[in-house]
Amino acid sequence: MAVELDVFVGNTTIMDEEVYQLWLDGYSVNDAVKVRMEGGVLEEFEASADVLLSDTMDQYRTFQMCERLLHSPTKLANQLLFQIPPHRQAILIERYYAFDDAFVREVLGKKLSKGTKKDLDDISAKTGVTLKSCRRQFDNFKRVFKVVEELKGPLVENIRQHFLLSDKLARDYAAIVFFANNRFETGKRKLQYLTFQDFAFCAGQLINNWTVGALDSMVEDMDVDLDKEFLQDLKELRILITDKDLLDQHKSLVCTALRGKTKAFNEMEANFKNLSRGLVNIAAKLTNTKDVRDFFIDLVEKVCTFLKKCSFFFHKCCKQRQAVQPKFSDACASLSRRRCDVTSPPTFSPSLLSLAVQTDGQLRT
């Protein structure tokens, strides 16, 4: 006696969020049934295991049929096949595009190619995320990347519009796309302590300030590429360490800005020269693609570790990083913007570290 066929179709598509999550997590039908049984749905509704199995199968089938639509979420809204209330649709999409931090951390900055996809089983083993789920997440990244790659206009906005994602998720995807495009190295041991959210924050800052799009908003450019011209301009920052006057001026400006705003002010003031040199050296090298990739490694090595050493930022490293880096970029960005020359560096340089420290203070409190 075997059930040959078992189908249930509702006019309004019935989806159980719990089962959806199990499906997304890559559970097989049988495993999902087990999980659900442990979850206690059965007792609640006096159902038997058979009922649960058939329900799970049905839902899995529905999700599989829906998956095609989820690949282009805008279609989901005006397709006729499934009748799903709008708020449900939003949940479906949001959940489908959600990802595991552990997984994304592994893939961040890697090329979204077939080669990487082949390594997914290793990643799966390492992170404990099922292979199925890894594939879905990877494919999501790739899909978003492909769509957004060719589009003009602000990256986050594009993602949000094409995939109907929430603002937060769209920003995360923007970060992923940005990292994948620039191939920033994030996998080194030194960077392991950084979470995806740390990187995402940096990516947001970089996108806002360092890309071509940051300059003049929309004009046919892309948010995904760093502004070459700007990177070129960064070279000129060297003057901040080579010219004694400017260095002092810079220092005084930064100190004025930061005074009283951070507990670590004294250490900062004492080590200003070293700090400044580390940052400027990194900035000056960025015209080189290889150095762009190593940007985060350099930053951590040259700046953060140094800061750590002198207990500048206590030991909350990730917070430091979040703080330092954007402001650094901020500063550089403003530099570029003004197309300043050697004669007027003092006007901008205070921002370089001062704001960094400031933010750090805020973060800590």
Partner: protein, 1091 residues
């Protein structure tokens, strides 16, 4: 009325990629109607083409307009090779032909391909301009409205009900034509799809003509069925009720327009007047005994042969196959009947019967009923305007087994020549043969109804089950007496409230009063005075196929009651097979009936509504499934309990066993009472133990269990005894209560019986918060909220072990059904508290070892408060000693009732809330779904799957004047979310009805037929995945068509869809690995929108 049909192709979207190189498509569209074809330009390289074509105009005859669908084909242009078809859309123009219906069709339609399913959508605009042409000889019937709902549509009032219309159209099935061997699957599917579409158009037109002839303007309760008879052809048949309907303007309340009429009085009087032949024997006795006449139920005076009284079951006498089943099995008291009268001699009976019949006829004539004019006073409606239904007699049904003709073997069936028509001499394609078959059955039904003292049959339904060349035709209905007023012109206007006082039987119980005369009962029944009005007699149990009349007084809630039965049968061919089947049928009916009765008692209810008995044939078994909604009618006496009797009283262990079972039964009854909130006044509650003492047990088996008759073994399993109390019913009202202390006695005389009792107890009751019924609304629940979910579910079970016994099979089948129900409860748990309404089970035996069950239903949420209130009441009433409590209950309910039954239309002006619930329009229903299915080798065929969805509309005037704020596809969505609240968007639901709404306008009926086939079953996710996708697609297409109809009028709110669907799945193994599945589904839906 020739007309001009105009179509415009606007745009497409989400088209599939047809050109691999560019990942794009060069799409263009062909629009075809009749023999005329137009083409749009090719829109190059786009998946979202904007054709924005000119208006394509077709000048056509209205006959064609009715028959033909508009055929829109989307193709991919190929410069070098032939153009590839992407898919098609068939649009039925019928809804546009009604003056007051939709003015145009416009919207996104899914593009459907029989191999690939839905492939993108296309936006089409269709309009029709009709010219008036008063040709008397016209063949068209434009303007006749069709409604699939089995009640008078909400925004209309019935001026006159004309009666039964039926028609059938027969054609060769293209699937079986020689050409099918050489054409592509797609071509063959499309040919079939088109043919069926044409046939149903033609059928509808012909029915329309009949209606016009009768002077009506609408068909209500329209039911279309497809019989895929395989090689012998394709039969499309339809039945309906012709009516003259008047559109209500929004101001006038339908409730006032349809009233009780004074005329009921004579009718009912007539019925209760004793007729001369007072000692007429109980008809229930001999039902299957009649050997000769095609209508074994002896009521037909024309049957010349008098049935031998005591040999009811000689197989030889019945090879004709007409099975009988009828009255005696299913009528209201059904099984309870018994008595001794059956032993009269046959000839006498016939004589008496004739007398009764004439008496009845005279009676009918004298009371001014015009029904006799019509050949078949049948009504497919299941719910009626107040006052229409005067009395209900009981269920009448008839079945007949036929051999589908193969033209080449004329040797078959000569023995069957006493049939009305010698079907062997007629080729299978001739509709006359089928007509004759149905005619025969209808005659039989009619005569049964007469025997019950009724002049009409309501809730009438016909169905077939086909296996190879054997075909079971079944018809069933409820014998009733109707108010003649509705049959006459213009009568409705006279009716007004003041006549109510003259009405002898109050609406809340009047329909229960017996239509026949108590001294001359057609079958033995226990009559008592109506517990409600105390004036007239009522039977102890009432079985009907109709919905619960809205104004009936009910105690507690109703519930779904199912009887399930499997019977093994030897494999056989042709005539032998037919004989075997017809021999089995009566036993199955009997047993189903027994089960129903026992289950009813177990729930302490006393009436069944919406009874539907389905028997389907397979190669080696017969499946029977009876579903109904049990209700405790306040008017009927409280049901007795069930008692177990052991065969050998001496055996101690046995006795102990019996005691435990008895206890379980008693407990179950008590539990059920609590569950369904049945609080019978104490006087009527029964304590089985006490009863045991008083009662003298009359052995009264049903029907033909007459001593000496060759009773097949299976029948002996359950013996029913009715205990009879000494006090006579004729005594005063007080005595009444004592008179009711009867109990059913189940005798456990062998293991089978024990098993049966176990089955009784295995039926799980729905979990808290759930109710289920198979009628349109749940008796006892009145405060529906807006949550509605319609669903379809199909389950196929493969029986693994070949040597199954009947018992084993029964168990499997019962579990299958129970599990399905459990699944529903589980899946829909988020809707709690809710009720599964209109549960339609359809069973089939697609192949030797497969059992298939298909269910469609709608679940509706209702206000929790009511429930909670009742739940809290429960503990108090549980004690059931306080009579006051209990008495209040029914009162409260009936108060509820009357408030809801006042029709909402008066509130139309702006209040769309729950107050205006008018659920009568609801009808969701799957017709038949038979199925033949073979694993990988033969044919898998789910056949004749009828979806009928009714639904509703609402509008408040507020909504009406507001413009449509959103695009169509959007509004479809928003409609769902907005539910019953007064949001100014178009709201749609393909569901039967949206509570809290009111139908303002019906847009018409849609007919669709889909065939789906695939060569890559595996990719589609196996059979389940394939079917799942297919059903989802069908739903989507129905939704789209309705949206297109409804979305055009500003501010119309909801849409009514009702339709029929046929699925046939075919699976052939062409290569060992890939199997082809082919599903055809017809879906005809009536879409009605509201403005």
């Amino acid at each position: 009325m020739p007309g001009k049909l105009k179509a415009k192709i606007v745009a497409g979207r989400h088209l599939p990629v047809m050109d691999r190189a560019s990942d794009l498509t060069d799409a263009f569209v062909e629009v075809k109607f009749g023999n005329t074809t137009f083409k749009t330009d090719v829109y190059h390289k786009s998946l979202n083409p904007q054709w924005n074509s000119e208006w394509f105009k077709f000048e056509v005859d209205d006959e064609d307009l009715q028959d033909e669908p508009l055929q829109v084909t989307v193709l991919d242009h190929d410069t070098y090779s032939a153009n590839d078809a992407i898919g098609k859309v068939y649009i039925d123009i019928d809804p546009l032909l009604c003056s007051e219906a939709a003015s145009d069709i416009s919207g996104w339609f899914p593009i459907y391909d029989t191999i690939h399913g839905i492939r993108g959508e296309i936006n089409i605009l269709v309009k029709v301009e009709l010219f008036n042409d008063l040709n008397r000889f016209r063949q068209s019937s434009c303007g006749v409205k069709f409604f699939c709902t089995t009640s008078i549509p909400q925004c209309y009032r019935a001026v006159m009900v004309h009666g039964f219309v039926e028609e059938l159209v027969v054609n060769e099935d293209p699937e079986y034509q020689w050409i099918d061997r050489i054409r592509t699957p797609r071509a063959s599917n499309e040919a079939r799809q088109r043919l069926i579409s044409l046939m149903s158009g033609e059928l509808q037109r012909k029915i329309g003509l009949k209606v016009l002839e009768m002077g009506g303007n609408a068909v209500v309760g329209y039911l279309q069925c497809f019989d895929l008879e395989g090689e012998s052809g394709l039969v499309v048949r339809a039945i309906g009720t012709a009516c003259t309907l008047d559109k209500l303007s929004c101001g006038s309340a339908p409730s006032t327009s349809t009233h009780m009429h004074p005329n009921t009085a004579p009718a009912s009087n007539a019925c209760s007047s004793p007729s001369k032949d007072g000692k007429e024997p109980l008809f229930g006795e001999d039902l299957p005994s009649s050997s000769g006449p095609p209508t074994p139920f002896r009521a037909l005076p024309t049957s010349s042969s008098s049935p031998p009284p005591f040999s009811p079951f000689k197989p030889c006498s019945r090879q004709s196959s007409s099975s009988d089943t009828d009255l005696s099995l299913t009528p209201k008291t059904g099984m309870g009947s018994g008595g001794s009268g059956g032993k009269e001699a046959g000839p006498l009976k016939t004589l008496l019967r004739q007398q009764t019949q004439t008496a009845l006829e005279q009676r009918g004539a004298s009371s001014g009923l015009l029904l006799n004019v019509r050949e078949f006073p049948f009504f497919t409606l299941t719910s009626f305007p107040p006052g229409f239904l005067v009395h209900v007699g009981g269920v009448v049904s008839a079945r007949s087994v036929k051999l589908l003709d193969r033209i080449h073997n004329p040797a078959l069936g000569n023995t069957r020549s006493y049939k009305l028509l010698d079907w062997n001499s007629v080729t299978a394609d001739e509709p006359e043969t089928r007509d004759a078959w149905w005619e025969e059955i209808r005659q039989e039904i009619k005569s049964h109804a007469k025997a019950l003292g009724c002049h009409a049959v309501v809730g009438y339904n016909e169905s077939t089950s086909i296996c190879e060349e054997v075909c079971i035709l079944s018809a069933s209905g409820t014998a009733a007496i109707l108010n003649a007023r509705y049959m006459r012109e213009g009568c409705l206007d006279i009716g007004s409230t003041d006549h109510r006082f003259e009405e002898p039987s109050p609406p809340s119980c009047g329909f229960c009063h017996i239509p026949y005369d108590e001294f001359n009962m057609p079958f033995p029944a226990q009559l008592t005075y109506c517990c409600h009005c105390r004036r007239q007699k009522v039977p102890d149990v009432l079985f009907t196929t109709i919905d619960l009349p809205p104004d009936a007084a009910v105690t507690g809630k109703g519930c779904l009651i199912q009887a399930r039965l499997c019977r093994l049968k030897k494999k056989a061919q042709g005539e032998v097979n037919a004989t075997a089947i017809s021999n089995l049928l009566p036993f199955m009916e009997y047993e189903l009936h027994t089960q129903l009765m026992n289950k009813l008692k177990l729930r302490s209810m006393n009436a069944l509504f919406g009874l539907h008995i389905q028997i389907s044939v397979g190669e080696n078994m017969l499946l029977g499934l009876a579903s109904a909604t049990g209700v405790y009618l306040t008017a009927l006496p409280a049901p007795g309990g069930i008692q177990i009797a052991g065969k050998s009283p001496g055996d101690l262990s046995n006795e102990h066993h019996i005691l435990t079972i008895q206890k379980r039964i008693t407990d179950t009854i008590a539990k059920n009472k609590e569950l369904y909130q049945i609080n019978t006044p104490k006087l009527f509650t029964l304590d089985p133990e006490v009863n045991g003492g008083i009662n003298m047990v009359l052995s009264m088996e049903l029907t033909e269990e007459v001593v000496g008759s060759p009773i097949p073994e299976s029948r002996q399993r359950t013996r029913l005894f009715r205990s009879h109390s000494e006090s006579s019913d004729e005594l005063s009202e007080l005595d009444l209560s004592h008179g009711k202390k009867d109990a059913f006695v189940l005798e456990m005389d062998d293991t089978d019986a024990v098993e049966n009792i176990h089955f009784l107890l295995t039926d799980a009751s729905p979990p808290t918060g759930f109710y289920s019924c198979n009628t349109e609304i749940m008796p006892g629940i009145y405060n529906w909220t807006s949550g509605v979910q319609m669903f379809t579910s199909v389950r196929v079970l493969r029986l693994s072990n070949a040597n199954l016994t009947n018992q084993g099979l029964n168990k499997i089948f019962t579990d299958l059904c129970e599990n399905l129900l459990k699944s529903f409860y589980f899946k829909l748990r988020s809707m709690i508290p809710c009720c599964l309404c209109h549960l339609k089970f359809t069973v089939a035996v697609p192949e030797e070892e497969l059992i298939q069950v298909t269910v469609t239903a709608v679940s509706m949420t209702f206000d929790k408060n009511q429930i909670q209130e009742k739940l809290t009441d429960k503990p108090i009433t549980k004690g059931s000693s306080e009579t006051e409590e209990q008495l209040q209950f029914p009162l409260e309910l009936s108060a509820d009732l009357s408030s809801t039954s006042t029709q909402p239309s008066s509130k139309i002006s702006g209040v769309p809330e729950n107050t205006s619930v008018s659920p009568r329009a609801a009808s969701v229903d799957y017709g038949s779904f038979a199925d033949r299915c073979s694993t990988w080798l033969e044919l898998l065929r789910l056949k004749a799957h009828t979806i009928r969805r009714g639904s509703v509309k609402t509008i408040s005037s507020l909504e009406r004047c507001s413009p449509l704020p959103e695009g169509r596809s959007r509004s479809l969505r928003s409609s769902r979310s907005s539910g019953g609240s007064s949001v100014t968007v178009v709201r749609m639901t393909p569901l039967s009805f949206l509570p809290g709404t009111n139908i303002i306008k019906y847009l018409g009926i849609i007919n669709m037929f889909f065939i789906r086939e695939t060569t890559s079953l595996r990719e589609e996710g196996g059979v389940s995945g394939f079917l799942h996708a297919f059903i989802a697609e069908v739903f989507a297409m129905v939704r789209a068509h309705v949206a297109a109809l409804g979305g055009n009028a500003l501010a119309q709110c909801l849409i009514n869809v009702s339709g029929d669907a046929v699925i046939c799945v075919r699976e052939t193994d062409q290569e060992p690995t890939s199997s082809t599945t082919n599903i055809g589904q017809t879906c005809s839906s009536g879409a009605d929108g509201a403005t």
